[in-house]
Structures are given as C-alpha cells and as structure tokens.
C-alpha cells in the first residue's frame, strides 16, 4: 500500500515557491548529523521539519528537503552491505560520469567552482523553498544551529524572476510526468500515458514492463526513495541571442527561405517584427519545440499566437505523429520523444524525469549588455528518477547528445542543452516539405558549473538513518 506521507514533498509535486536556497553540506560529526536527521522528521528542537507529500489545505510558507550523496551515506555510517546495494552510477558520483553527461571542455568537473571542485566532500544538499529571503535565512539558521553536525561548504540560490520563464526566454515547466496515485487538481489534458510510480520512486513497477530497479538495502532505507541529478547549469543568453541573429542572417541568404517564412507572414510571429527578427524567433522555436510563450510547434507550427488562442491547459496536449509540426531535432522532442517513432522501440516513455528547477542569476536585459564581470546566470536543476542510469544518464548519452533516437539527428547534440562546439555543432531547421536548412557552427549554450547525484530518502529512511548507531 502506497503511503504518500512517507515520500519527500518535492518529488511528486512542485512547490511553486518563488525562491530556493540549496545548502551544500559536509558531515562534520556523524553522531550529531544523525541526530539532526532524526530531528528533521518531526522538526524537534526547532530543526526544520522535512516537508513530506502529505496533503496540505494551505501551502506552507517554507518547505525543506534533503538529498544525500553516496559519500554522505558513508559519512553517516551506513553499513557497507547497504552501501554496496546502491547502483554504480550513484556510487561513482556525477563527476565520474562526466563524459556520459557531456560535462567536457569547460563544463568538465575540474573547472567547477567550489564547493563542487571537491565532490567527495559534498555529503548532503539541504534545500529550502520559500517566498522571501528572510524565510530562507531563518530556516538556514535553524538548520545549522548545531554547528557541530555539518560544515557549510557553499550555497546556491535561485529565484523565479518571471513566473515559469527561464533565462533563454522560454515558458518552462509545462510538461511533467503524471501519476495515477497522485491527485492532480489542474488535470490538464495530456495524451502521454500516466507514469507508473516506479518512474520516480523505488519499490514500484516502472515504464519497462517486467523490469524492477533494485531497492537499496535495507528496505527501510531504499523504499519510497529516489535519485536526483542536481545540476548547476550556466546559460549563455548573450551567446544564444547572437546565434539566433547569425542563423537568421544566414537563412535570409538561402533560396527557399520563403517556405520557412512566407513574405508578409512576419506579423504572425510577432507584432512589428522585421523579417530577420521573425526568423530569429522561428529558429528559437525550432530549437526548443515550443515558441518562447510555450505554445508547442506540434499544435501551432506557424505562429506563437494561434487563433483561437491556445489556453495554458492545452500546452501539453500533443503527441508526435509522423507529420508533426515539431521538428525531430528540437530540444523537447529529443529529451522526451513521447509517442514518436524512435530507434530504441522499447524506450518510449522509459526515460522520463521529474524536473524541479529554478533560475539563478540576474535576468537578461537585451537593452543593457552584460558587463565583463556580470554575475553568472543559469538554472539550478533537479532531475529526478528512480534510476539515474536508465533515465537521466540514458537521456543524456544517447538522446541529448549523439541523437541516436532518430537517424536524421544522429551525430548532432541537443541545440539548447547539448555539448556542442563551434567546430562540429549543427542543427537542422525543418521545413514542411521535409527539406532542411542546416545551421552550422552551433556553439554550446549551457555549461555545467557543478552538481551531484543525490539520493532523496523517504521519511522512514531519514528516521532510519537518524537511528543508526543507537
């Protein structure tokens, strides 16, 4: 029997709090740290209480959750037989999997700033979600009141500056897996099948019929837990916007560009747009698979402003038939091909992830170019799934990079988040006729600046870890 109150609260639903602060911690004293963990279950001694999936009538003003790295579990004193029951990718940690994840070149772990430059020291990531900074400060103070338990290695803070929009200017956070066991009050139409609970929780059937992921030992530790790829992803908005201009200028020189944008249709893309500006938006939309306002190309390939307008609840109501208006090379189709024909026929829907992310850094203002020492901007992403290997890594290795799922994109990387390089990067803009314009010299727009694989333990597991050694 599935008990929702045993699951940490940031997995099966998003809090939609405007701010997050991730505290990156090392265990300083295992006994104190275990006591602290035990106290987070109930919030005893003014230690922040871990937010569970228990239903609430009113959203709490602050939510608090924790994730543990493999080194963290070891530092807390988990038994060696228990440690040995965790999957290899988690044991090795994110930095050991760098090439698979595209963390190469200046995204390689050796270039990550502190505290991620010493990955073995990162033991626990405690995340505080709140409306304002004062709440973040208050809960951080409560969490670290016992200075003996942990050393604070670093902090990463994000905030939602414009609803669900992210730095590249797209409306994000539209599509998430839905679960039959979890009531979704919005219940927007979505033709994708309901995700089995095992997509994000250990101990339940997953999308692969007949396959079960190993639940780490003991069951009290493993069951109802899941894994998270925490990623600090810097976004080069200036580079992205200038590439759009470069691409639009190139397209204007190409015979056949009128098929992509019939003369006179610029106004359909946006009021008052020049031909170049309209082509920029078409390239941006094809790269993502959605117009920047979130309208999917699969539903509206010619304009971000269809008539009648597409309401918010319809933004996820599409699949990918053979004649889909969504280019097979786009980001959303690469990372989640839905029902599209793909090479790995057993893999449709098997690599889905729960994404909980929040931007960091100042919003991009096109009228005020960044100073040389402008703060970095990007996304603090949590990519959650019951199997890092079968979901997050599988998506990164073969789909986001390499492009194995469709022979028309094989040999290229995801245009938005892929490990591209000017020398080799390319992206095909797809026309209705099936012809393509190949955009070359595609640079990398998203650089990895830190991260860790964490285990998100259930409430029972936190209690169990708190009781170790007693």
């Amino acid at each position: 029997m599935f008990d929702v109150t045993d699951v940490q609260g940031n997995i099966l639903r998003g809090y939609r709090q405007p701010r997050v602060r991730h505290l990156i911690l090392a265990v300083a004293d295992a006994t104190e740290a275990r006591s602290w963990l035990g106290a987070t279950v109930s919030g005893a001694g003014s230690v922040p209480q871990v937010t569970s999936q228990a239903p609430w009538d009113e959203k709490p003003s602050v939510c608090f959750n924790i994730g543990l790295t493999f080194e963290g579990l070891r530092a807390l004193g988990a038994a060696s037989s228990s440690l040995a029951s965790f999957p290899t990718e988690f044991v090795e940690g994110m930095t050991a999997r760098a090439e698979k994840l595209g963390d190469i070149g200046d995204s390689a772990p050796e270039h990550w700033p502190a505290p991620f430059d010493k990955p073995r020291d990162v033991h626990l990531i405690a995340s505080i979600y709140a409306k304002d900074v004062a709440d973040l400060d208050r809960v951080q103070g409560q969490a670290l009141q016992n200075g003996r338990a942990f050393r604070l290695l670093g902090v990463r803070e994000g905030f939602n500056f414009h609803g669900d929009y992210v730095h590249f200017g797209y409306h994000d956070n539209i599509s998430q897996p839905r679960f039959a066991e979890i009531h979704d009050p919005a219940d927007y139409p979505d033709p994708q099948p309901m995700a089995p609970l095992g997509t994000v929780l250990l101990g339940y059937p997953n999308n692969f019929e007949g396959l079960l992921w190993r639940v780490p030992d003991p069951v009290a530790l493993g069951r109802n837990g899941t894994f998270n790829a925490f990623r600090v992803l810097a976004q080069d908005v200036v580079g992205f916007e200038s590439y759009l201009t470069e691409a639009a200028k190139y397209l204007l020189t190409q015979r056949g560009v009128d098929e992509l944008l019939p003369p006179g249709d610029e106004g359909k893309i946006g009021p008052g747009l020049s031909r170049e500006a309209a082509l920029r938006e078409i390239v941006a939309a094809q790269m993502c698979g959605r117009w920047r306002n979130g309208v999917p190309l699969a539903k509206s390939p010619d304009t971000p402003y269809p008539e009648p307008p597409l309401p918010e609840e319809q933004l996820n109501n599409f699949d990918y038939p053979a004649a889909s208006g969504c280019p097979y090379s786009s980001h959303i189709r690469r990372s989640n091909p839905r029902d599209a024909q793909i090479v790995q026929r057993v893999a449709n829907n098997s690599r889905r992830l729960v994404r909980r992310g929040m931007p960091y850094g100042p919003p991009y203002d096109p009228d005020k170019p960044d100073a040389a020492d402008a703060p970095e901007r990007g996304l603090l992403g949590n990519f959650i799934g019951a199997s890092l290997g079968a979901q997050f890594e599988a998506m990164c290795t073969d789909w986001v990079n390499v492009g194995l799922q469709d022979p028309r994109v094989t040999g290229s990387n995801d245009p938005l988040i892929g490990a591209n390089a000017r020398e080799t990067g390319w992206f095909d803009v797809v026309l209705k006729s099936g012809n393509t314009f190949r955009l070359r010299s595609l640079p990398r727009f998203v650089r990895t600046r830190g991260g860790a694989y964490t285990f998100l333990p259930s409430i029972s597991a936190i209690r169990y870890l708190g009781s170790l050694g007693k």
Partner: protein, 236 residues
Amino acid sequence: MAGLADWFERFVDELPNTAIMKFMAANILVPYWAWRTPVKPQPGGPHYSVQPGDNVQHMMNLIMPLKDKSAVGRATAALAIAANKDEIYAGLDNVGTVHFARFVIVGDNICMFSVYDGDFTNYIRDFIATIGSVFDAVVSLVEGGEDVIPSERNVEKFIDWVHAHDLYQVSDQATDLFRDIEAVNGETEITRDLRLLPRDLILQLHVNPNVSLGSGYRAYPGYSVAQVREQFGIGW
C-alpha cells in the same frame, strides 16, 4: 675496442630473446613487479567519445567461462543459442541499435561479440527489456551467472556483470594507457613516466589476460543502424 663494444651491444640487444631471460621475465620479473605494484584491471568496453559521431558502432567482446568445461557443456551452450535464434533476431530488431551479434565458443568460454550504437548500459538494459530470457539462458551456463539472473530482476547487477566480462580495449594510441590508468586509479595529476609504458602494458596484461587490441577497425566512417537502414530505404 670498438669490436668489443659492438659485440656487447649486440649481446644486450639479443638478451631479451634468450630462453633464460624469457623464462626469468615471465616467471620471476613480471610476478615480482605485479606484487610490488598492484595494478587495477581496466574496465571493459569502448572509451566514450566526446564527439557524437564517434559513439556509433562500438564493439562488445564478452568472454564468459562456461561452468561445464566438457564437450557436453559446450554443446549445451550451442543448443541454448540455437533454441533462441528467433528471439535473438526479434531482439536485435527491437533494440534498434545493434549492427551485428555473434556467438563463438573458444576453449571453455562462450563469447558474445557485437557491434552496437551509443551507450553500453542503455544497450544492455534495452536488451534485457526486450529478450532478457535469452541472456538468462546463456548466462545461466556461465561461471557466476547464477548471481545475476533473472536479468529482469537484477538489472543493475546484470549490467555491471556484463560490463566486467567485456574486454578492455587497448587504445591504438599507446599513451592512452596512461589516461586509462589515471582514470581507474582516480589520479588527477599526470605523474607517469613514459619510459615505463611497456611495463604498464605488461602489468595490465598480467591482470587482464584477454583484451581487445584497438576498438575495432572500420572501412568506412561510423553510421548508426538506423542511418544505414534509412539509406537503404528499409525502414528504421
């Protein structure tokens, strides 16, 4: 004097080819080195490339020692493959990323050699999901195989086990051995002495007697299964 020096140089050059030195190297020197400097065996499979075009047509070379080392044991293995022929074809078709797969019996080993696209763990996981029973039939005949079957219930363990039986692919670039040694030892600084490269190779072959020389050679650039099928108009 020059004659004596020439003779001495020739003598030293020939020394490694003498029976006594060969005997001493194989039976005293290498075991002594191996004892003095324990070496971790390198993991099997291809080195993952940062260039997307290089991540197709990878080689898998599984060497799996049979439990029953008699002719009857080898025949049982042959029968297990023959009995699953249709499933193997169906599996290859459905997994979609395998170019060729071959089963070979060499000595007391059943070997599975294949050419696949993309990531190894994805390939094996998709295969388990598609025709895990075939894997189980073969692996049940192999030493240690009982610990990882049924594969559907031991996915992570099974993939690790297969990975452990996949041969180390010695790079064509001799100094890449250093890269691999640094990776397996978790070394972050380059401290290796180029003059000791032959010794490092010998010590690796001491702990890893079966290896693949290179990562397979192609007469044309790498293409995925689906790219080939698309070009031939046979659907993908």
